[in-house]
């Protein structure tokens, strides 16, 4: 089957992309104003000893191409430097924050995709109805709304004033829970960030699904289905929905970028202990090793997810599968 060959080909393509990201990172470090050593160990009161150690480790006293090789070696060994603010290895630090981010992103992704697709399918079959128009207006409001502003609004109203939801963090630190209690506590903390974070995605997925559904319902094969006596319900679910959802897979993959940008801003507003908040801290503290490390990890993540959506798309579209 062609699919296996394709996956292998795509995997091979991902390698140079990750390499390009590393190169971009290296060029940025080199071309930024100031001594590159500060980008690796941060500005501030690093000891002379540490500076010299890092300089030697990254080969900063050597010519550029040698530096590049040693930089790549370091990155490949997951040696991303040392965060001065957290006094911790950058990679370990990033690793420790991934679960929180995945929890928030995953929940928001599921919520916004499911709701957005269902609403889009519904509105797409009822073009120009009242419900359709209302949903369209809401969606344009939704994707014009800055994530952090929505977050602040929700935070102020539902947390600071009404006190329905906690304002900060992922769980109650003062009164730690265990087992089922912890799950409930985390879920409680999750509500506002997820709403904030999903709004934009939902609006976008809704729009795309609705337009695609409208297009599909006008396709000739829908006429064929009706002409052979297929009832309207089955026309929609058997003939239209699969053709609508197929391209949505790709769109979901391509929007990962926005999903990630949203995560930084949401996590910042709600002090969610994930990668986004970590990035905010890195920026605030000018913790460049952490910042650059985050950039590499997140970029690689995007490359891999893009690869997966691509492969999934190939696997489910018979036009490509049997090409």
């Amino acid at each position: 089957m062609h699919l296996r060959r394709y996956v292998m080909g795509r995997l091979l393509q991902a390698v140079p992309l990750i390499f390009v990201v590393m190169t971009v990172n290296f060029i940025l470090i080199q071309s930024a104003p100031g001594d590159p050593i500060h980008l690796l160990i941060g500005e501030g009161s690093a000891s002379e000893e540490l500076i010299e150690l890092t300089r030697a480790e990254f080969g900063l006293d050597k010519p550029l191409h040698v530096q590049f090789v040693s930089y790549v070696k370091n990155v490949l060994q997951l040696n991303l430097g040392y965060s001065l603010r957290y006094r911790q290895d950058v990679f370990d630090l990033i690793l420790s924050r991934i679960p929180a981010s995945l929890l928030l992103m995953g929940t928001a992704f599921v919520v916004s995709s499911v709701a957005g697709i269902l609403l889009g399918l519904y509105a797409g079959t009822r073009k120009d109805s009242l419900a359709d128009r209302a949903a369209v207006v809401l969606s344009i409001l939704g994707y014009s709304m800055p994530v952090f502003f929505l977050g602040l609004l929700l935070l102020t109203v539902f947390s600071l004033n009404l006190g329905w939801f906690p304002a900060q963090g992922m769980y109650n630190i003062r009164n730690p829970q265990e087992g089922w209690g912890l799950v409930k506590d985390v879920a409680h903390h999750l509500v506002l960030p997820v709403i904030t974070y999903s709004a934009f995605q939902l609006a976008l997925i809704f729009r795309v699904t609705r337009v695609k559904m409208q297009q599909v319902m006008k396709e000739d094969y829908i006429t064929t289905a009706r002409a052979k006596g297929v009832g309207e319900g089955r026309v929609v679910f058997r003939h239209a929905v699969p053709n609508t959802l197929l391209p949505i897979v790709t769109i979901l993959g391509l929007n990962l970028e926005w999903l990630l940008a949203g995560s930084v801003l949401t996590e910042t507003v709600f002090a969610w202990p994930g990668l986004g908040r970590l990035m905010f801290d890195a920026v605030s503290a000018r913790d460049f090793p952490l910042l650059m490390g985050l950039f590499i990890v997140i970029s690689s993540f995007v490359i891999i997810v893009n690869l997966c959506t691509d492969v999934i798309y190939r696997a489910i579209d018979p036009r490509v599968r049997f090409a």
Binding site: I140, P146, F148, A261, F295, I298, I303
Partner: protein
């Protein structure tokens, strides 16, 4: 084109968007003349005053007039949005046209570059760029433009790829038209529609990106932008919510208006229902 505009004004939502955008643009250009106070004037005695007759939008935690600051903020936000989108659209059109028209090696290189830009998370690259190279309005604009031009380039390229096989393009070649003439007179005018729509939507995205950067503390500290205002007033949101509310609303309005205009243009330029024939 006349009928196009009539079509545009048919849709009251698009008209509303255009009205808001024009209003904001007016505020931005008239700027300081409208502001009752100096946006940077600190007054300890007037700290955190709620909206009232003197300070229409209240004052912030340092006693600065939120209304006057918002006017400057709109100016900076629109400036960033429009200039970044315009620069990126221009570069995108040039590169996309050349790649789509001539194809070959040039096209190949362009496609590889845009592929890289597609997988590098743009917002994060912007954060890194601005964090490394200091947060000035200029740097922010450059960062946004660098990150968004490939989108326009890809779009222009695909328009060119489909338009260059049109029979009227062949006919122009047979009439003796040079490559430049074919590009500028035959293809580009017909490719501009979707490109302009994307360019308009880019304005909103650029403003959102600028606000997002500012909110992370990467705004230009010497200029008052809406994002910077939001960032600064955030810690005090509990007792001076208006200092965050109004700039936030203005960002929302500005982005909303460009999105509405972009959508309206899209309906006019890509009419799926209206059969021309």
């Amino acid at each position: 084109m006349d009928s196009h505009w009539r079509l545009y004004f048919h849709n009251w939502v698009s008209v509303l968007g255009l009205a808001i955008l024009v209003l904001l643009a007016l505020v931005a250009t008239l700027g300081p003349a409208l502001a009752p106070f100096d946006p940077q004037d600190i007054g300890i005695a007037y700290r955190a005053l709620p909206p009232g007759m003197v300070n229409w939008m209240g004052t912030d935690e340092l006693g600065r007039d939120v209304f006057s600051r918002s006017i400057s903020g709109v100016r900076v936000s629109l400036l960033v949005g429009v200039v970044a989108a315009a620069a990126s659209t221009l570069v995108g059109i040039v590169v996309g046209s050349l790649a789509g028209y001539f194809g070959g090696v040039f096209d190949h290189i362009l496609m590889r570059i845009t592929e890289v830009f597609q997988v590098i998370p743009q917002f994060f690259l912007a954060v890194v760029l601005v964090a490394l190279f200091s947060a000035s309005v200029f740097n922010i604009i450059v960062a946004i433009a660098i990150l968004t031009w490939p989108v326009i380039a890809r779009l222009t390229r695909s328009e060119f790829l489909s338009l260059k096989t049109r029979q009227y393009v062949d006919a122009a070649r047979l009439s003796g038209a040079s490559d430049a003439r074919v590009i500028f007179r035959e293809i580009l005018p017909n490719a501009m529609g979707p490109v302009i729509v994307s360019g308009t939507l880019l304005v909103g995205r650029a403003m959102l990106t600028e606000a997002g950067l500012s909110f992370l503390g990467l705004g230009d500290p010497s200029r008052v932008s809406l994002g910077v205002m939001l960032y600064q007033s955030r810690p005090f949101i509990q007792f001076a919510w208006w200092a965050a509310l109004f700039p936030g609303l203005l960002i929302f309005l500005a982005v909303l208006s460009t999105n509405l205009v972009g959508d309206g243009l899209n309906d006019v330029i890509n009419p799926q229902m209206v059969e021309e024939r």
